[in-house]
C-alpha cells in the first residue's frame, strides 16, 4: 500500500496527513512537491492536505489548482485512484473541477475551529465503508471558508446519487444542506472540510479519522 501527500506552498497539514496515514494504516507515504510532473509509481491514495496554499489569496485553492502536479492528480482520478482533499485540499479539488460546487466564506465571517459531530450519510463509499454501523463520528473543523455551495440542481443530484458523504449535525458555517463532505460521481474523489488527519488517536480527542484512511487504502 502506498499513499502520496501533495505539498503546495502554504500547505500546513501535509506532515499531519503523513503521520495520520502512517499511524492508522502503516502505509508508506511519499511527499510530493507541487511542481512534480509525475506521481510515485503504483500509488493507491493521493491526499491533498489542509493549509493555506498560496496564503488563500484571491480564492482558497485557486492557485494550487493550477499547480503542475494537478495534471497528474486529474489523470490519476481518471484512472480511478482514490483521492482525498481535506479542508484546503477540498477547496483545491473544487477549484480544479474534480468535485462539484465551491467553498465560500463562512456564514459567521470568522474562522472557526471546533470539534463537530458528523453524520456518515453514505457508509458505502470506498472512503467510508469502515464506518458501517456508525451513525456519528467526531472530527474538528478549522476554516474560514468552509461553507459548501452548489446550485440547487447540483445539490439535488448529489443527494440523489448518494454523493453527500458527511453531514454536520450542527452547521458550523452555513454549508448548503449541512454538507461536510462529498464524493465525485465515480466515487473515487472525496473532499471534506473536517480533519480526519487531526483525529487518528484517542489522545487527540477522537480516532474516528483513522477509519477513513484505513477504508481508502483497503479499497485500493
Amino acid at each position: 500500500m502506498k499513499a502520496a501527500v501533495v505539498v503546495f506552498p502554504g500547505s500546513n497539514c501535509d506532515r499531519d496527513c503523513r503521520t495520520a496515514i502512517e499511524r492508522s494504516t502503516g502505509a508508506e507515504v511519499a511527499m510530493v512537491w507541487h511542481k512534480e510532473t509525475t506521481l510515485p509509481e503504483g500509488v493507491d491514495l493521493i491526499v491533498l492536505p489542509g493549509g493555506f496554499s498560496y496564503g488563500d489569496y484571491l480564492r482558497c485553492g485557486a492557485m494550487a489548482a493550477l499547480s503542475p502536479v494537478m495534471a497528474e492528480v486529474k489523470a490519476a482520478a481518471g484512472r480511478g485512484v482514490a483521492i482525498v482533499g481535506i479542508c484546503n485540499g477540498f477547496q483545491i479539488l473544487c477549484e480544479a473541477g474534480l468535485l462539484p460546487g465551491a467553498l465560500i466564506r463562512n456564514e459567521g465571517l470568522k474562522y472557526v475551529c471546533k470539534p463537530v459531530a458528523l453524520e456518515v450519510t453514505n457508509a458505502q463509499t470506498r472512503f467510508t465503508a469502515g464506518y458501517a454501523g456508525r451513525r456519528q463520528v467526531t472530527m474538528t473543523v478549522g476554516n474560514g471558508e468552509g461553507n459548501y455551495y452548489a446550485d440547487e440542481a447540483t445539490l439535488e443530484r448529489l443527494e440523489g446519487e448518494g454523493q453527500v458523504v458527511f453531514r454536520y449535525v450542527q452547521n458550523p458555517n452555513g454549508s448548503a444542506r449541512r454538507i461536510a463532505g462529498v464524493v465525485n460521481d465515480r466515487g473515487n474523489v472525496l473532499g471534506l472540510m473536517p480533519h480526519p488527519d487531526r483525529a487518528f488517536e484517542p489522545e487527540l480527542g477522537s480516532a474516528d479519522g483513522a477509519i477513513l484512511f484505513q477504508s481508502a487504502l483497503a479499497s485500493a
Binding site: D16, F52, C113, G142, L204
Partner: protein, 733 residues
C-alpha cells in the same frame, strides 16, 4: 559623504527620539557629526526598544542559569534542554503600539515577528500563546480593537500552521489608550543544532532572503519607545502588513537551509530591520560588516539608504553563509519562491559600512552602536504600600448567587470562546490540551514521543499595581502553578515587561520592584528567565497602563499519559483543597467586580509554601494518584469550582468554613492553592499530612448544581449561560 548642517541634524535627532546629550555622545564617539543615514542607525539602535537603556541594569537581577538552560537571554530566543537530545526554544514579545494603530496588522505582525525569533534559532515553531489587555468594554474603541487583534492573531498563526493553544485576555480602563498584545512562540529543535547570530569570521557572504523591502514601519522601533499623544496619528509610519504565506515559506526555507549545512550565522530582521540585524551579527562576532544597498531586493522605486536601513518590512532574514555555499542558498530560495541576494560581506574593520549608488553613505564603528549604547540608572521611588484587608473590611454580598453570576460573567472571568474559536488549536496534530479543553496550561506533544511541553502565560496586573513586588512574585508563581497543576515540571520562563514611562520615578519604581519580586520567585522556584522583551512608554497623555509584566512559562511532561486537567470531575469525588486559606480579599476579583472597589494589598505569596504545595500536587499527578486538578487564582475557590463544574458537566457542593465568613472563604484569593477532585480524598489528606502540606476536604462533586448549602445554589445551566454569554453578546453589540 554628504554633509548636513549640524544644527539641523541635532534637531532631526530630537525628532528621532534622541536626547540632546545622546546626540552629543554620538558626536563624541564618531569624532564628527553623523550624516542622516548614520543618525538613523544610531537612533534605532539607541532606542529603548533595541538598547534596553532603562531596563538593562534591572534585567541583570534575573536568574538566567539552570541545569536545563542551553541559552539564556541575549539571543533571539531562549533555549532549554528537554532531554533525549532535544531542545525547546521560546520567547514572548509585544506589539502594543502597532496593534493600537491598526489592530489586525499590528497583532498579525506581532505573531510573525515572534515566530521568526524562534525559527531563526533552528527550531520549528510548535505552539503560540497570546496575552491581551484591552481597555474598558464600555470604551468606544475597545470592541473594534478586540475584533481586529483577535482576527489578526488568528489570521497569521492559522495560515502559517502553528496551533495557538493558550493565552489570557483582560479588560481594564487603564488600557483604554494603550492596549497590550504580547505574543509567545514555542519551538522544538535538536539540542546540537541550535543556530546563533554572531558572525564567525570575516570575508563571508551576507545573504538577504524573504520578502522585498518597502517603506513599512520606518521608525517603528523608536515609535515603540515613545509615548502617545493626540498628534500620534500624524506621525505614524506606513503600517507594516504581515504576509503569513511568506512567513510559512520563510520557515520552510530557513529550516531547509540550516539542514543543508550552509548557515554560519543567522538573524531575523525584526524591529529596526536591516540595521539591527547587521549590527548585531557583526557586533556579536566582534567583526565589521559591509553592505551594498543596491543589492537589497526592493518593492518600491527610489528607496533611499536611510529608508532601507530603517524599514521594518516583514518576513525577512539575514544569514551569513559558510564559504562557497551560495549555491545551496540559491537552490532553496528558488524552490520556495523567495527573493534573495548576497548584499555584503563580513569584514575585519569593526565598522558598519554602507554603500549606495556608488557612494559610501555610512561608515561607523560598531562598538558604540552595539555594546556602548547609553545606559540609564533611572531614579525611582518605592510605591506606597497598601493596607492588608481583613475579611471584615469587605462587605458580604447581599445575594451570593448573584455575586457568583457577576463573577463568572465579569469581562476578565467570562469564557473567551469567542476568541479562541478563531484560533486553529489543532494543526500539527499534537495538541493535547488547549483553551477549549479545561486545563491550566496548553499541552503539545513532542512529536513522535511520549513527552509533551506545557505552556502558559500569566500576570495579574491589579496585584502588580497595588504592590509591584508581591505582584511580580505572583506572576511567576502563577505560571509555575499552572504548569504544576497539569503535572508538568516547570523549567523556565520568558517575560514581557509592559510599563509606562521609565523617566517617571514612580513608574521606574514599579519596574524595579516588579523585577525584584519576579527574580525572587524565579530563584525560589528554580524557574530561570531565558528570554524576554521590554515595552516601556505605554502611556497616553501622561496616564500609564497598569504595570503588566507578563510571564510565559514552559514545563515538561515526561509521559503525557500521567497528567491532570479539570474537565474530568465526576459524581462521588471529594473536593480536596491543597494550601492555606486566610480569606485574602484585597485586590480580589470579588472586590472589584462585586464590591466595586480596587483597593487593599494583594494576597502575599509565600514562596516556600508555594513550592511545597506545588511539588506535592505534581508528585501526586505524576504517580497517578490524582488526575483532576485546578489551581486557584482570580475569583478564588468558587471560581475554581465553577470552572471545574462547567468543564466537567458535573455539579459541586462546597462546605462552609468554621472560621471565615462565606465571602472570604469562597472569593478569597490566597496563593499557593489547588483544588483536587478525587475518589480517594482521605488517602490524599494522609499523604499531604505526612509532608506537611495543608489539605482538607472542602466539598463533593455531583449533581447539576454549584452550591454552598445554606449560602447559595445555582444550576449549571444558569452558570454556563452567564459564563458563556458575556463575550459574544458584547462583540455582537
Amino acid at each position: 559623504m554628504s554633509a548636513q548642517p549640524a544644527k539641523a541634524l541635532a534637531e532631526t535627532a530630537a525628532e528621532f527620539g534622541l536626547k540632546a546629550e545622546e546626540y552629543a555622545l554620538i558626536v563624541r564617539r564618531l569624532n564628527r557629526e553623523p550624516n542622516l543615514v548614520e543618525l538613523g542607525v544610531f537612533s534605532v539602535m539607541w532606542s529603548e526598544h533595541c538598547s534596553y537603556k532603562s531596563s538593562k541594569r534591572q534585567l541583570g537581577k534575573f536568574p538566567t542559569k539552570g541545569a536545563a538552560v542551553i541559552c539564556g537571554p541575549g539571543e533571539n530566543a531562549g533555549v532549554i534542554d528537554i532531554g533525549d537530545g532535544q531542545a525547546c526554544v521560546f520567547k514572548m514579545e509585544s506589539h502594543n503600539h502597532p496593534s493600537f494603530i491598526e489592530p489586525y496588522q499590528g497583532a498579525a505582525t506581532g505573531v510573525g515577528g515572534i515566530m521568526r525569533d524562534v525559527f531563526t534559532m533552528g527550531a520549528r515553531p510548535v505552539a503560540l500563546l497570546n496575552a491581551l489587555r484591552f481597555g474598558d468594554p464600555g470604551h468606544p474603541k475597545t470592541r473594534r480593537l478586540v475584533a481586529g487583534v483577535v482576527a489578526g492573531i488568528g489570521g497569521y498563526g492559522n495560515c502559517v500552521g502553528v496551533p495557538t493553544v493558550a493565552g489570557e485576555t483582560n479588560f481594564h480602563r487603564g488600557y483604554d489608550g494603550n492596549i497590550l498584545v504580547n505574543a509567545m512562540c514555542v519551538g522544538l529543535a535538536d539540542a546540537d543544532k541550535i543556530f546563533y547570530s554572531a558572525a564567525p569570521a570575516p570575508g563571508l557572504p551576507v545573504v538577504y532572503f524573504g520578502s522585498k523591502t518597502g517603506r513599512d514601519g520606518i521608525h517603528g522601533a523608536t515609535m515603540a519607545s515613545a509615548e502617545f499623544d493626540e498628534a500620534s496619528d500624524e506621525k505614524r509610519p506606513t503600517v507594516q502588513v504581515g504576509d503569513p504565506f511568506a512567513e510559512k515559506l520563510l520557515i520552510e526555507a530557513t529550516l531547509e537551509l540550516m539542514a543543508s549545512g550552509a548557515v554560519a550565522a543567522i538573524q531575523d530582521m525584526g524591529a529596526a530591520g536591516l540595521t539591527s540585524s547587521s549590527v548585531e551579527m557583526a557586533g556579536k562576532g566582534g567583526l565589521g560588516i559591509e553592505l551594498d544597498l543596491d543589492a537589497v531586493p526592493q518593492r518600491e522605486d527610489g528607496l533611499t539608504a536611510y529608508e532601507m536601513m530603517l524599514s521594518e518590512s516583514q518576513e525577512r532574514m539575514l544569514a551569513i553563509l559558510k564559504p562557497g555555499r551560495e549555491a545551496d542558498g540559491r537552490r532553496i530560495f528558488e524552490k520556495w519562491g523567495l527573493d534573495a541576494a548576497v548584499i555584503g560581506k563580513t569584514t575585519e574593520s569593526g565598522h558598519l559600512v554602507l554603500r549606495h549608488r556608488g557612494e559610501v553613505v555610512a561608515d561607523v564603528p560598531l562598538a558604540p552602536l552595539f555594546e556602548d549604547a547609553p545606559l540609564y540608572d533611572r531614579p525611582w521611588v518605592a510605591p506606597a504600600p497598601q493596607p492588608r484587608l481583613a475579611p471584615a473590611d469587605v462587605p458580604e454580598p447581599g445575594d451570593y448567587a448573584q455575586a457568583v453570576l457577576t463573577l463568572v460573567s465579569a469581562p476578565d472571568m467570562a469564557s473567551k470562546r469567542w476568541i479562541w474559536e478563531q484560533y486553529d488549536r489543532h494543526v500539527m496534530a499534537d495538541t493535547l490540551e488547549d483553551s477549549a479543553t479545561g486545563a491550566d496550561a496548553g499541552i503539545v506533544r513532542v512529536h513522535g514521543t511520549r513527552k509533551a511541553l506545557a505552556v502558559t502565560s500569566d500576570v495579574t496586573p491589579r496585584y502588580v499595581q497595588a504592590d509591584p513586588y508581591e505582584g511580580g512574585k505572583q506572576a511567576v508563581a502563577e505560571a509555575w502553578r499552572n504548569l504544576t497543576a497539569i503535572g508538568a515540571t516547570p523549567i523556565a520562563i520568558t517575560d514581557n515587561l509592559n510599563f509606562g514611562n521609565p523617566e517617571r520615578p514612580e513608574i521606574m519604581g514599579q519596574i524595579v520592584r516588579a523585577i525584584d519580586g519576579m527574580a525572587e520567585a524565579c530563584r525560589a522556584l528554580s524557574f530561570p528567565v531565558v528570554s524576554g522583551n521590554v515595552s516601556l512608554y505605554n502611556e497616553t497623555n501622561g496616564a500609564a497602563i497598569p504595570p503588566t509584566p507578563t510571564v510565559g512559562g514552559v514545563g515538561l511532561l515526561e509521559d503525557y499519559a500521567r497528567r491532570a486537567d479539570f474537565a474530568g470531575m465526576h459524581g462521588g469525588q471529594h473536593l480536596v483543597l491543597i494550601g492555606e486559606t486566610r480569606g485574602e480579599l484585597g485586590c480580589s476579583m470579588y472586590l472589584r467586580e462585586v464590591a466595586g472597589r480596587e483597593d487593599g494589598a494583594p494576597p502575599p505569596v509565600d514562596l516556600a509554601a508555594e513550592k511545597r504545595n506545588g511539588d506535592f500536587v505534581r508528585a501526586a499527578i505524576q504517580s497517578g494518584q490524582v488526575s483532576v486538578v485546578h489551581d486557584l487564582s482570580d475569583g478564588g475557590l468558587i471560581a475554581a469550582a465553577a470552572e471545574m463544574a462547567l468543564a466537567s458537566g458535573c455539579g459541586a457542593q462546597l462546605n462552609a468554613d468554621d472560621e471565615l465568613p462565606a465571602h472570604a472563604w469562597l472569593f478569597g484569593e490566597d496563593q499557593g492553592r489547588y483544588l483536587v477532585a478525587t475518589a480517594a480524598g482521605d488517602a490524599l489528606l494522609a499523604a499531604a499530612e505526612a509532608q506537611g502540606v495543608p489539605a482538607r476536604i472542602v466539598g463533593a462533586a455531583g449533581g447539576d448544581e454549584l452550591a454552598a448549602p445554606g449560602v447559595f445554589s445555582l444550576s449549571l445551566a444558569r452558570l454556563r449561560q452567564a459564563h458563556e454569554d458575556w463575550l459574544p453578546r458584547y462583540m455582537g453589540g
